[in-house]
Amino acid sequence: MTELSEFTSGRDEELGALLRAHLSAPDDVVFAARMRIAAVAAANETAWRSVARWTLPGFAAAAVVLAVLGATLGGATPEPAARTAAGSAAGSLVELASDTSPAGSVALLAVMAY
């Protein structure tokens, strides 16, 4: 190893190489590739959760507003059975919207698409 004083700013290349080899592992490249996949997955999941957290309640609120507007502007008083169905549908939408898991989000989007 190179003899260096406290005030030398250069590297001890020999000790550095020894340490690098010692701290490295044979599967470093595979591990790095695995971490890349994990990083992308983590980033996508976070992004999706963020979208789900802010967008789905918005969709649900819009659906409820549209339902109320439809009933008001339609002029006709809905039949009790239809009113119950509309209420139940709105409740389900709110329930789906409050579920921020990917499955819940997909279900709500499927409903919206339909």
């Binding site: 190893m1 000790l15 701290l23 790095a32 971490m35 990083a39």
Partner: protein, 184 residues
Amino acid sequence: MRNYPVTDAELAAQACGGSSEAFGALVERHTQRARRVARAALLDPHDADDAVQDALFSAWRAIGRFDPARPFGPWFLKIVMNAAADLRRRRKLRKTEEVPESAADTGSMPDRDTDRALLREALDRALATLPERRRMALVLHDAEGYVHEEIATMLGVPAGTVRSDVFHARRAMRAALGPMGGND
């Protein structure tokens, strides 16, 4: 058509803008170094891998606060070292009564070459005897090539302290390794 590799700064800018692919590419580029640093911090390969993985999640959560004009490597390594410190705290809470047989046990694979095995053991022991800050300063400087000022930022100490830590760590390593460590 571009025929040069994408730089860290370009990837970091894209990652800051929310690109998961760019973030993944950055992580892959810096993982080997991060793994070595985590191993030096924790002296345990399995804990080190856990710390790198924890750091990856923390880095993504913090990417919005990262300045893409600055180098990504030191920023990520600082997160890795914080993750290693958190992990050590958690492990200590769990293993208060469990005393390891050897503080320098890194769970390394069996070596066929006896000399290499002896050197590995000696390095494990020597690294384990160093105070953590000195160990990190030595690894970041001599093994990873960071300058004192960068290490000072990562470790949160003055550059003069890093310089002194590197000097004392080298001296301790030289004494611990003896003739195995090189040409002196």
